[in-house]
C-alpha cells in the first residue's frame, strides 16, 4: 500500500514537471530579436515572424501580426 502511494507520488510529480507539448517558450533569443524588429523595422519583423526558420507557433504569429498591423497603421496615421 505504502509502496504504491510512493509510486503514485513519483508518477504525479513526473507528470506535473514534464513540460506540456503545447507549452510556449516566449523568450528565446530569436523571439526577443523579433519583438524588437517588430517595433523598429516592422517589415523585417514580419519576415522573421513568418519565415521558415521562425520559432513562433500559430498563436504567437497571429497575435504579433495583429499588433504589428495596428502599430504600423497608427504610426502612419500619426505621422501624416
Amino acid at each position: 500500500m505504502n509502496r504504491s502511494r510512493k509510486e503514485n507520488i513519483m508518477d504525479l510529480k513526473q507528470q506535473l514537471n514534464t513540460p506540456s507539448q503545447n507549452s510556449i517558450k516566449a523568450f528565446t533569443r530569436y523571439k526577443l530579436a523579433t519583438y524588437v524588429c517588430n517595433i523598429v523595422v516592422p517589415p523585417y519583423g514580419l519576415y522573421r515572424l513568418w519565415s521558415r526558420q521562425s520559432e513562433f507557433c500559430l498563436s504567437e504569429k497571429i497575435a504579433q501580426t495583429f499588433v504589428v498591423s495596428v502599430y504600423v497603421t497608427t504610426l502612419i496615421q500619426s505621422l501624416i
Binding site: 505504502n2 502511494r5 510512493k6 503514485n8 507520488i9 504525479l12 510529480k13 507528470q15 506535473l16 514537471n17 506540456s20 503545447n22 507549452s23 510556449i24 516566449a26 523568450f27 523571439k31 519583438y35 517588430n38 517595433i39 507557433c57 500559430l58 498563436s59 504567437e60 497571429i62 497575435a63 504579433q64 495583429f66 499588433v67 504589428v68 498591423s69 495596428v70 502599430y71 497608427t74 504610426l75 500619426s78 505621422l79
Partner: protein
C-alpha cells in the same frame, strides 16, 4: 501522513494543471506576455526617455537630448497597438489554444469566439463634446473598454464557452450537411462548419440579450461586478496575495513547479492590475494597485521562488558545507536572472525539511515589507510589466518607472531573505557535524 498529504496535494495540482480551460488560458497568456511587456516598455520609453513635458525624470529633458522626443509617436503607436487590444487578442488566442486541446485546429474557431464576444459588446460610445451640455452618442464603434484589459474576464469566459459550444455541436455531427461525393472536401467542410458557427454566435448573442432584458444590466457589467471586482479584491489584497504565494511555495517544496500550477489562477487578474496602473500613469494619474504582476516579479519571486538569493548569500557567508558552497556559487549567475532550479533541485530545497520553512517564509515577509513600504510612500508603485528574467534592482527601477525607493526596498528585501535563511544555514552546519560524529 506526510505521504498522504503530498499525494493529495499532487492530485489537486495535477487536476489544476491539466484542466483544459486552465491550460488554454495559461498558453494564451504566455503568447500575450511579450506583447504586454512591449506595450509597457513603450509607455516607459515614451515617458522616461522621449517626453519633454513630463514632470518626472526624462532623458529628453537633458540639454542636447530634445531630439529624442521625435520618437514619441513611435512608442505611443506601439503602446496603442499592443495594450489597447489585449482582450481581442486574448479571445483569439484562448479559442485557438482550447481548440488545440479539443483537437479542433480549424481557423473558424477563433473567428467564432471573436464574433461571439463582439456580439456581447456595446456598439455605441457616449462622450462629452466641448460646448454641449449633454453627452453625445457615437454609434457603430467598439468602445475601448471592450478591447483593452477591462474586458478581459468577459472575453476569457466568452472564448471558452463559445469554443466549447462550437466543438460540442461539430462533434455531435447532427448538423452535418450531406454532400454528394463529387463535392470537394474543403467545400463540404465549409458547409459542415456553417451551422455550428452560426448557432454558437446566435446562442451567445441571444444569451447576452436575454440577460440584459431580465436583469437590466449587460454581461460586461455583471461579470465586472460579480467576478472581476471580487477576484481582483482577493488577489490584489495582501491576505489573498500572501495565501496564493505561500501555496505556490508549498507546491515547490514537495517538488512541483508551484508557479506553473497556480499561474492560471492569478495571472489574468494580476496582469490586468499592472496594465490599469500603466494606463493611469500614462494618463497622468496616480497608480491604483500595489499588488500586481510586476510586484510579483520584483518582491515575491525575485531570483526565483522562495527568494533564494537570500539563501545563496547566507550559504556564502555562513555555511561550512563545501557541497552547499559549490552549489551556491554555481547558482549566482542564473540567480541574477531569477532562475533558481540549481538551488531548488541541486541543494536541494525540494523535500528538504531544513529549508522548507524559510523557503515559504521569505517571500511572505518580503512581499509584506514591500507592500508596507509602498503604502507609506517610500517605494514607488509597480506600474510597468517587465520580463521576469530582468536582474534584481534593475527590475525594481524599470517596473516602478525609475523609483529609487523601489530599488532600495528590493535591496532591503534581499537582506530580509538572507536573515530568514541564515539560522537554517547554521542549522545545516550542525547536521554536517552530526554526520561526522556518526561516521
Amino acid at each position: 501522513m506526510g505521504d498522504f498529504l503530498t499525494e493529495k496535494l499532487l492530485v489537486i495540482a495535477s487536476k489544476m494543471s491539466s484542466q483544459r480551460h486552465m491550460v488554454a488560458i495559461k498558453n494564451a497568456f504566455t503568447a500575450l506576455l511579450p506583447i504586454i511587456i512591449t506595450g509597457a516598455f513603450c509607455v516607459l520609453f515614451a515617458n522616461v526617455v522621449c517626453s519633454t513635458t513630463t514632470t518626472g525624470i526624462s532623458l529628453a529633458k537633458l540639454p542636447g537630448m530634445a531630439w529624442l522626443s521625435n520618437f514619441t509617436d513611435m512608442f505611443n503607436a506601439a503602446y496603442y497597438a499592443s495594450l489597447n487590444f489585449l482582450t481581442v487578442l486574448a479571445v483569439i488566442l484562448i479559442a485557438i489554444e482550447l481548440g488545440k486541446v479539443l483537437n479542433h485546429k480549424e481557423t473558424i474557431v477563433p473567428i467564432v469566439a471573436l464574433s461571439s464576444y463582439i456580439s456581447l459588446c456595446d456598439t455605441f460610445l457616449k462622450t462629452s463634446v466641448e460646448g454641449l451640455a449633454d453627452p453625445v452618442t457615437i454609434v457603430n464603434v467598439l468602445p475601448r473598454a471592450f478591447t483593452n484589459a477591462q474586458g478581459l474576464f468577459l472575453g476569457m469566459i466568452t472564448a471558452l464557452v463559445a469554443t466549447e459550444i462550437y466543438v460540442k455541436i461539430v462533434d455531435s455531427r447532427k448538423l452535418e450537411i450531406k454532400m454528394p461525393d463529387t463535392v470537394p472536401t474543403n467545400v463540404s467542410h465549409s458547409f459542415n462548419i456553417l451551422f455550428p458557427s452560426v448557432i454558437t454566435i446566435l446562442l451567445i448573442s441571444g444569451f447576452g440579450l436575454l440577460f440584459k432584458t431580465v436583469f437590466g444590466m449587460t454581461l460586461y457589467d455583471a461579470i465586472g461586478t460579480m467576478i472581476q471586482t471580487p477576484l481582483r479584491g482577493v488577489l490584489t489584497g495582501l491576505p489573498g496575495y500572501l495565501l496564493i504565494f505561500a501555496l505556490s511555495c508549498v507546491f515547490w517544496v514537495i517538488g512541483i513547479h508551484g508557479t506553473q500550477v497556480l499561474k492560471p489562477v492569478y495571472q489574468a487578474t494580476m496582469l490586468e492590475a499592472v496594465l490599469a496602473n500603466t494606463e493611469l500613469v500614462n494618463a497622468g494619474q496616480a497608480p491604483k494597485y500595489i499588488l500586481n504582476e510586476a510586484f510579483i516579479s520584483v518582491f515575491t519571486t525575485m531570483s526565483g521562488a522562495g527568494i533564494t538569493i537570500g539563501l545563496i548569500i547566507a550559504i556564502l557567508i555562513a555555511s561550512k558545507r563545501d557541497d552547499f558552497k559549490a552549489i551556491a556559487k554555481l547558482s549566482v549567475a542564473p540567480g541574477l536572472f531569477n532562475i533558481n532550479e540549481t538551488m531548488t533541485f541541486g541543494l536541494p530545497i525540494v523535500l528538504n525539511p531544513l529549508f522548507m520553512i524559510p523557503f515559504i517564509l521569505a517571500p511572505i515577509l518580503t512581499a509584506s515589507f514591500a507592500y508596507f513600504m509602498t503604502v507609506i510612500g517610500f517605494c514607488g508603485y509597480m506600474v510597468y510589466a517587465v520580463p521576469w528574467t530582468t536582474p534584481p534592482l534593475l527590475i525594481a527601477w524599470l517596473a516602478s518607472g525609475g523609483s529609487m525607493g523601489a530599488v532600495i526596498t528590493q535591496a532591503i528585501c534581499i537582506v530580509i531573505s538572507t536573515l530568514v535563511y541564515l539560522p537554517f544555514v547554521f542549522a545545516s552546519n550542525r547536521t554536517i557535524n552530526q554526520e561526522a560524529v556518526s561516521e
